[in-house]
């Protein structure tokens, strides 16, 4: 059976960064498997700028950011297979992949890096009354149709959800001559980055209506309009607030979910909050030798953090492939509380050598609060934040010294 020290599933920014860092850590036998026709993942359709400010200190567009990593992989002659789908993975790290030239092939990996990205929440899950006429797209599908295939999806547009992709598409469609009438957001705050609200909506005078949702879709064959209603604190529509907007297109930007069909097949333990695998500080999942990074692990808003996380996964996968399964020490469970919805990693190995980066999100907009890390009641760390919001991922670093003072588990929560 074909064997590789490391097999990376997914050739987006996460997979590429993991492969490159595994190579740089000394592993010379890395294979990247990608189902699409080119490497780069979702960035190929994200033609706007704003990528790479942290990593490269300049503003790149999505395709440019992707090409930097593709070049790094090619400089190292890292092997990749395109138009190839991984259909199954076993806990023994046997992989079944399928492509047109070879059919279905089994191979074995010393270590696996999961980097399959995420997908959009489909409309079915949203349950809006009305027919299912043409003219309803998820924002990401509309982005692909316009930017890759050159198909203009509509002329008069309403967008439900103020996630970043919806905001980006509001500007994109306006520039291509469409009229974007309104962006409606169920929550009392936007899930998108401030920068996108200013440069995609404010610049073009597109109204953002917070605490509003689409309560009816009009039209049988093609969308003819939508009804938008205000919602109360319970997020239910308030009767009497209905307003009609005529439009031929409704874009849905209602969140992303990690793509974990494969992870489920391996029996990997998934977090109910992130939808991605539970990992320890080496980004190893509950399946030995299987690591995860990027949007398959938890949904990121900035690709720079994807790359950084993936580099760690690649390095640790290389160490695992070289040393084989290590004997495991104990783990500290990390529990989110008081406004913190999740942390990644969810576990920290007690023998974790260096510092550990904890990423987390909060469940509302908080000003002037502290993030407190506690273990058995004792305060391990406390940092003040001027502002925290659900749309911006937070980060906290625990040093070796901090960790040495932890016993049992640790909690991460907001305090005054």
């Amino acid at each position: 059976m074909e064997y590789h020290d490391i097999v990376v599933i997914g050739g987006g920014p996460a997979g590429l960064a993991a492969a490159v860092s595994a190579y740089d850590a000394g592993c010379r036998d890395v294979l990247v498997i990608e189902r699409d026709e080119r490497l780069g993942g979702i960035l190929n359709q994200c033609i706007h700028n704003g990528f790479g400010l942290h990593t490269f200190k300049e503003e790149l567009t999505g395709p440019e950011y992707a090409e930097r990593y593709i070049r790094k992989a090619e400089e190292r002659s890292i092997e990749y297979r395109l138009r190839t789908i991984v259909a199954d993975v076993s806990p023994e790290r046997e992989i079944l992949y399928v492509n047109r030239d070879e059919g279905a092939v089994r191979m074995k990996a010393g270590a696996i890096v999961l980097a399959m990205g995420c997908r959009e929440r489909p409309r079915g899950a949203l349950g809006i009354p009305g027919y299912r006429p043409a003219g309803i797209y998820t924002a990401g599908t509309a982005q692909r149709l316009m930017n890759i295939e050159g198909y203009m999806v509509g002329r008069e547009v309403v967008i439900l959800g103020s996630g970043d992709i919806g905001l980006i598409m509001a500007r994109r469609m306006t520039l291509e001559g469409a009229k974007v009438k309104v962006v409606a957001e169920l929550m009392p705050y936007s899930g998108g980055l401030k920068r996108n609200i200013v440069q995609c909506l404010d610049d073009y005078g597109i109204p953002l209506r917070l605490s509003h949702t689409v309560t009816k879709i009009h039209g049988k064959r093609r969308v003819e309009g939508v009804t938008i209603s205000e919602v109360g604190p319970d997020r239910r529509p308030v009767p009497g607030t209905e307003e009609f907007y005529s439009c031929d297109t409704l874009l849905l930007s209602c969140g992303l979910i990690p793509e974990n069909e494969l992870s489920k097949q391996v029996g990997i333990i998934l977090s109910r909050v992130t939808g991605g695998p539970e990992v320890d500080d080496s980004l190893e999942t509950s399946a030995e030798g299987v690591f995860a990074c990027g949007n398959v692990l938890h949904v990121h808003d900035l690709v720079d953090f994807v790359s950084e996380e993936a580099e760690r996964a690649g390095r640790n996968a290389a160490a695992f492939a070289a040393e084989g399964g290590k004997t495991r020490g104990g783990v500290l469970q990390v529990t989110p509380e008081n406004g913190v919805t999740y942390t990644v990693p969810q576990k920290i190995r007690t023998d974790a050598a260096e510092k550990v980066t904890l990423r987390f999100r909060v469940n509302g907009v908080y000003r002037d609060r502290c993030v407190a890390v506690r273990s058995s009641g004792a305060e391990i760390k406390r940092v003040k934040r001027r502002i925290m919001a659900p749309g911006e991922m937070e980060e906290l670093i625990l040093t070796g010294e901090d960790l040495a003072r932890c016993a049992g588990g640790i909690t991460v929560g907001l305090e005054d």
């Binding site: 026709e37 080119r38 190929n44 033609i47 706007h48 700028n49 503003e59 790149l60 567009t61 999505g62 395709p63 440019e64 090409e67 316009m146 930017n147 890759i148 295939e149 050159g150 520039l175 291509e176 401030k194 920068r195 609200i197 200013v198 440069q199 404010d202 610049d203 001027r386 502002i387 919001a389 911006e392």
Partner: protein
């Protein structure tokens, strides 16, 4: 004298700025740090943006190539720049970084390809 309300986007804090222009004098209030003052003044006196779009490519592995303005262009020229981008047409191959339109809409900036499209 004119005052404009803006949201600073230089960091996640998102301070609400008030920028007042009085002849040549520009004053920014509401900012927490100096970056906000610089941003507020530029936004009111000479705002610029990167414009990105796509251009159809004949005979390429994919149907369109993505492009951007380099450097940024004045904000009030966005739609003029878009009009030129939308009337352009290319034949494969196109290499990332290639200049597609010189001095787009008289801004002095170029439109360059941000993706490589090989021949199909």
């Amino acid at each position: 004298m004119e005052t404009r309300e803006l949201t600073c986007i230089q960091c996640p804090l998102g301070c609400q700025l008030a920028v007042t222009v009085d002849g040549d004098a520009v004053t920014v209030t509401g900012n927490t740090c100096q970056r906000g003052a610089v941003y507020g003044e530029k936004e009111v006196t000479a705002p610029t943006r990167t414009v990105t779009g796509t251009i159809p490519v004949d005979g390429g592995e994919i149907a369109r190539v993505s492009v951007k303005t380099a450097p940024d262009i004045p904000k009030d020229k966005i739609f003029d720049v878009m009009a030129e981008i939308r009337s352009a047409h290319l034949t494969a191959p196109v290499e990332a970084g290639r200049i597609i339109i010189h001095d787009v809409a008289g801004t002095g900036a170029d439109v360059i390809a941000t993706k490589t499209v090989k021949r199909s």
